[in-house]
């Protein structure tokens, strides 16, 4: 157990350092993120200013704008994608080599795919954050609603990282069923993308599904941290939110391990 932990920690370090290498790529990613966010903010401004039915909503314009920036910050963390290296290994048959290592494959991949997120997270998010602060007026990012809210936001981001890594490992385990190709994996990823609030803040979805939206697993990836930041959820309500995040992380880990051990029983190693 201790050996596994230590091996996984160094794997994490190697992979994180590697993902920090490609600075130009990270920079161009940041530019695209910023442009993207500005466009999205414009969409919201147009809707909030000119649309016919400007009724009272659960989110104000300022909150939606801050939400968009926070979402973009967290985006790197999510990288809703299967780790390229792991996918390559499954396809090329290198998974056989991975199995020879005296290391639990699940935690090995968990460490790797979560580390892949760190590089982009620090670099890209840093640039986006800077832009969000510097961009003046209506378009920029506003300060968090309150100090306790902000601290809880940070805590919640940590939980989101755990949740996303667990989900990423589950997706990799599903991908092990090589005869199925990419289909099932991408469907899972898409599901996560839409339901996390990546397309539209969950609070702007129709009212009658709000409760269900809040407790589904993907809300913890973007929506819950963002709510705490913009203050559309009071700090006092935070505890159940965090529990939802941690609970679903545990579920993803359990299911991921189960899927992986079942898939490994008759794994197909390609190549020759």
């Amino acid at each position: 157990m201790k050996r596994t932990l230590r091996a996984c920690l160094s794997l994490f370090r190697i992979r994180a350092a590697e993902s920090l290498q490609y600075r130009l790529a990270a920079l161009s990613g940041a530019v695209v993120s910023i442009v993207w966010t500005l466009i999205e903010v414009t969409v919201y401004i147009v809707f909030y200013t000119y649309a016919e039915g400007r009724a009272n909503f659960s989110l104000t314009l300022g909150q939606v704008i801050a939400y968009s920036w926070v979402k973009e910050l967290l985006y790197a963390l999510l990288v809703f994608n299967i780790d390229d290296e792991i996918r390559g290994k499954i396809i090329s048959g290198d998974v056989g080599v991975e199995l020879c290592r005296p290391l639990d494959l699940y935690w090995h991949w968990f460490a790797k795919s979560s580390a892949g997120r760190v590089g982009t997270l620090t670099f890209r998010s840093g640039a986006v954050l800077l832009a969000g602060i510097l961009i003046p007026g209506q378009y920029g990012m506003t300060l968090p609603a309150s100090l306790p809210g902000f601290l809880l936001f940070l805590l919640s981001v940590g939980c989101a990282f755990l949740l996303c890594s667990a989900f990423g490992a589950l997706v990799s385990a599903v991908r092990l069923g090589i005869t199925w190709g990419d289909g099932p994996t991408y469907m899972l990823i898409l599901l996560g993308h839409v339901l996390s609030g990546g397309y539209l803040p969950l609070q702007l979805w129709p009212d009658f599904i709000q409760t269900a939206l809040l407790y589904q697993p993907f809300a913890g990836m973007i929506d819950i941290p963002a709510r705490l930041y913009v203050g559309s959820a009071a700090p006092a309500e935070a505890v159940p939110f965090l529990l939802v995040q941690i609970g679903w992380s545990a579920v993803f880990v359990a299911v991921g391990r189960l899927v992986m051990s079942r898939r490994l029983k008759n794994v197909i190693v390609q190549g020759g």
Binding site: Y22, L24, A25, S28, G29, V31, V32, S33, V35, W36, L38, I39, E40, T42, V43, V46, F47, Y48, T49, Y50, A51, E52, G53, R54, F57, D84, T179, W180, G181, D182, G183, P184, Y186, M187, L190, H193, V194, Y199, L200, L204, W205, P206
Partner: protein, 261 residues
């Protein structure tokens, strides 16, 4: 001509090998779902807020679907460029391509082919026709010409973007997210043009001419008040953009030093 036959052959091989996976239909389904999920944000916004003056949901969706469909066409036929930096350049496979007596463009373009990529243009076309019907735009010869020119011009622009990012990849080796600007192009079509900030409008008209292949043809098609010649600009502008990108790609090839081992 020889290149076309060669292209068809490569595509055929790719197609057959993809059909070996039993999950291939799930990929078709998945892309259909992606396409359906894409405008979910917009549709939900409209259902919350109602129309923005004359800008109804149909209008926005028409502009949006024009842009998505032409993107889908480019992606369907030239998938190889999408994967180029990661799967061909970084692995050193590009060296092998250079040894063959066939055009690099064809080889890269047909290196990958995924049948499910055609789910996007198919769904996009369905939405286009739905929006046109909702706004009672007749499909006379003029409108068909406009539509074809818009889609062809759009496909050329997106191909140009693929080429640009592949060309730049020769220098950076890693795929640059620059390519994601295409999605920013879709995103921009969600803003009603009348309310678009000037900077954004200028950028997506003159620099990255997305509006030329989506908004202007749509406006002429449904009679929102843009002049006919602006609607017809799509194809020439697309060709121009494609030509310029081809130059960058050529420059990249000339600069290429092997990455393989």
């Amino acid at each position: 001509m020889k290149e076309l036959i060669f292209y068809r052959r490569l595509i055929r091989i790719n197609l057959l090998s993809a059909l070996e996976y039993k999950g291939w239909w799930m990929m078709v389904l998945q892309v259909l779902l992606t396409v359906a999920a894409d405008p979910v944000g917009t549709v939900l916004l409209f259902s919350r807020f109602g129309s923005i003056g004359v800008w109804s949901m149909e209008r926005i969706l028409l502009v949006y679907s024009l842009s998505v469909t032409s993107y889908g066409l480019a992606e369907g036929f030239l998938r190889g460029f999408d994967y180029f930096p990661w799967h061909i350049l970084r692995t050193g496979n590009f060296d092998r391509l250079m040894l063959r007596p066939r055009s690099l463009f064809t080889q890269v373009a047909a290196h990958f082919f995924h049948i499910h990529r055609f789910a996007r243009p198919a769904a996009g076309l369905a939405v286009i026709f739905w929006c046109l019907a909702r706004q009672s735009a007749a499909l006379g010869p003029r409108n068909v010409l406009l539509l074809v020119s818009a889609l062809a011009g759009g496909a050329l622009i997106y191909t140009g973007i693929f080429l640009l990012s592949s060309g730049i990849a020769f220098y950076s080796i890693r795929v640059l997210d620059f390519f994601n600007l295409t999605f920013a192009g879709h995103q921009v079509s969600r803003i009603p043009v009348d309310h678009m900030p000037r900077l954004l409008r200028g950028m997506f008209t003159f620099l990255l001419p997305m509006l030329v292949v989506s908004y202007y043809p749509a406006s002429v098609l449904c009679g929102w008040g843009e002049a006919l010649w602006k609607g017809l600009l799509a194809l020439p502008v697309g060709a121009l953009f494609f030509g310029l990108s081809l130059l960058v790609w050529r420059g990249g090839v000339r600069h290429y030093q092997s990455t393989g081992s």
